[in-house]
Amino acid sequence: MKNTIALLFLSALLFSCNSNQKTENEKLQVVATTTMIADLLHNLGGDSIELQGLMGAGVDPHLYKASEGDVSKLLNADLIFYNGLHLEGKLVDVFEKMESQGIKTIAVGESIEKSELIGSDYFASNYDPHIWFSVSNWKKVTEFTTKKLIEHDPKNKSLYQKNSETYIKKLDQLQQSLIAKIETLPKEKRILVTAHDAFSYFGKAYGFQVVGLQGLSTATEAGVKDVQKLATFIIEQEVKAIFVESSVPKRTIEALEEAVKSKNHSVTIGGTLYSDALGNPDTNEGNYLGMFAYNVDTIINALQ
């Protein structure tokens, strides 16, 4: 038996030497981790890239489980775009290591300067990864991504540039319409209570006070005291509505609703916000622009 194992081990070493045989394909093979990044690449590359998304709609990136097909997607990719900042958990380390094997991996989170990132109160160099919830951040990501696409596929440079300009215009329009909508909401009503801390960048960009019931990690659960404290806060600030997230179970937010009710006040669940993933691809919320507009509409309508 020992011999067999030694043999297996040896053959592994042999096989691992001739890895990275890619099929030559004219189109650039691109893999994106989250739905947000896949949507961006779809807008930038269109039909001139072969785009594969790893995570589906409504998948919590921390809880993503790979399927067998994902292995070949990653293996055959020329470029892999991921969020970074630990959003994809341990996968981020894997992507960093893949660099050394000739597979180019790009963390779009790098495009945001460190000073713009929201850091942890306790541990330096650990940042909030939900950067897409500020349109100005996403513009930077768009420019960065365009630059990387051009770098690796110069022959389509003009196409990428044109698409990028169009998309940035759309983002600007979105930004303006969002601000106009948010202006209609009185400043003291701009309090956003959600299940986990996904909306800090949103709060910073649009002047909302953001309170998450759960911490950043979706592995921990909200404590009883957290719920009670937040319930008191909601009553004192007269918050009208709280929000459920598409990729986090609603149980905790419902517990909060109950806690407020038990103190003889009322708060409604204002709707479901898209946080870590976009909606279904065939709906309007299946792209970044639609998702953001939907989130803001939901928030404004419920808090008004």
Binding site: H62, K65, V71, L75, L91, Q101, L216, S217, T220
Partner: protein, 387 residues
């Protein structure tokens, strides 16, 4: 097949072997659940490691995770030794406590960091080929392959060196102590190996698959053999079968590799459970049926013996209404008795043969003296055909 696919199968197979060895002993010692416990109780180790290094990718986190696993084992053993609770209860007491300490530490001190087991241990077989070791420009292969390979070699060396001790202390603690080696040391050694294997394999293939690979192949092997060596070999074989078949079903279904391997392991267990020669469900049911028929036969023979003088009682037609047997039942019993040369039927009248007479008398003897087990042995001597 591309190189990543080969590497995944190779890693899965090595993990299967590395898990099957401690798994066999854990199943035999009724401590199979310790793996599940360890997969949870490593959390505080990871959290404390992070507090020290402030870095999610530091190897110290994995080191402390292993230490935390060993601590689980020590605490379980300690509680169990008090004799107040059983093994499973002790496991159930220890790991939730440790896991909760981890959770409390996170929510008190690091609620704004993505800190959980998944953030530190990869636990995804699909990505194992991408996490490689390179020295300079030379690619040395996936990291998991090296980790699991070293764990496996250590485990094999320990198994070969301490096979006798492990065997004796697993089956007879008293004898082990009197032979001069402490069952406690062997026990801790085994548990430490299990803990290290769990954490190492966890990083390569994920928690659920580790638990499945530790328990399912060993449990399947246990249905087939009582011999420790054979059990180890069979468990290894089942583990590898599960790993390879599971990988290819994941390939066909484009599904999670770990999930598919675990499912295949479950199906293999089910098949063996149903069809195993001695302990399998079907053979047990068959034996019960056989047993029933033979009891009927014995009742029938006793009846004939009691009424050896009265022809009226021994008529074939009479059996139906007298002993309350249905036609089919009486026919099968009659034919069984005939096949075994216990009776003769002459003109619809049944009579015991000499062989039938001796058999019945011996049986009566055993029943009176309460030695029912002897009847089973007697059947082997007398029966040409079983029920």
């Amino acid at each position: 097949m591309n190189s990543a696919q080969i590497e995944i199968q190779l890693i899965a197979s090595l993990v299967a072997i590395a898990c099957a060895i401690p798994g066999t002993f854990l199943v035999l010692r009724k401590m199979a659940l310790i793996t599940d416990a360890i997969s949870h109780s490593i959390l505080p180790g990871i959290v404390i490691g992070f507090f020290i290094t402030h870095d999610l990718s530091s190897p110290l986190l994995i080191l402390l995770a292993t230490a935390s696993g060993v601590l689980t084992v020590v605490l379980v053993e300690f509680i169990q030794k008090t004799g107040l609770v059983k093994e499973d209860t002790a496991i159930g007491l220890v790991f939730p406590a440790l896991f909760s300490i981890g959770i409390i530490l996170i929510s008190k001190n690091a609620s704004d960091v993505h800190l959980d087991i998944d953030a530190v241990l990869l636990g995804e077989l699909a990505f194992a080929p991408f996490d490689r070791i390179t020295v300079g420009t030379t690619d040395l292969g996936p990291k998991s392959l090296w980790i699991i390979g070293s764990i496996l070699i250590t485990t094999l060396l320990l198994l070969i060196a301490f096979f006798k001790e492990l065997k004796v202390s697993t089956f007879d603690k008293g004898l082990a102590a009197s032979l001069g080696f402490s069952p406690a040391i062997i026990h801790y050694g085994l548990m430490t190996v299990s803990s290290v294997t769990t954490v190492g394999a966890f990083d390569a293939v994920g928690a659920i698959l580790v638990i499945a690979l530790m328990i399912a192949p060993a449990a399947t092997a246990y249905l087939l053999t009582q011999d420790l060596k054979k059990m180890l070999l069979l468990a290894t074989l089942f583990g590898i079968t599960g790993a390879i078949l599971g990988y290819w079903s994941a390939h066909l279904l484009d599904a999670s590799i770990s999930g598919s391997i675990t499912t295949v392991l479950g199906i293999v267990f089910l098949l063996v459970y149903l069809f195993a020669k001695n302990k399998g469900l079907i053979s047990v049911l068959y034996r019960q049926k056989q047993q029933q028929k033979e009891v009927l036969l014995l009742t029938f023979l006793l009846h004939l013996h009691n009424h050896s003088d009265e022809e009226e009682e021994r008529k074939v037609a009479h059996l139906n209404d007298h002993i309350n047997w249905q036609k089919v039942k009486s026919r099968t019993v009659l034919s069984l008795a005939l096949k075994n040369n216990m009776i003769t039927i002459d003109n619809q009248i049944i009579a015991l043969t000499d062989k039938g007479k001796t058999f019945t008398e011996e049986a009566i003897n055993y029943i009176i003296t309460n030695k029912d087990t002897e009847i089973e042995k007697m059947k082997d001597r007398f029966f040409l055909f079983r029920g």
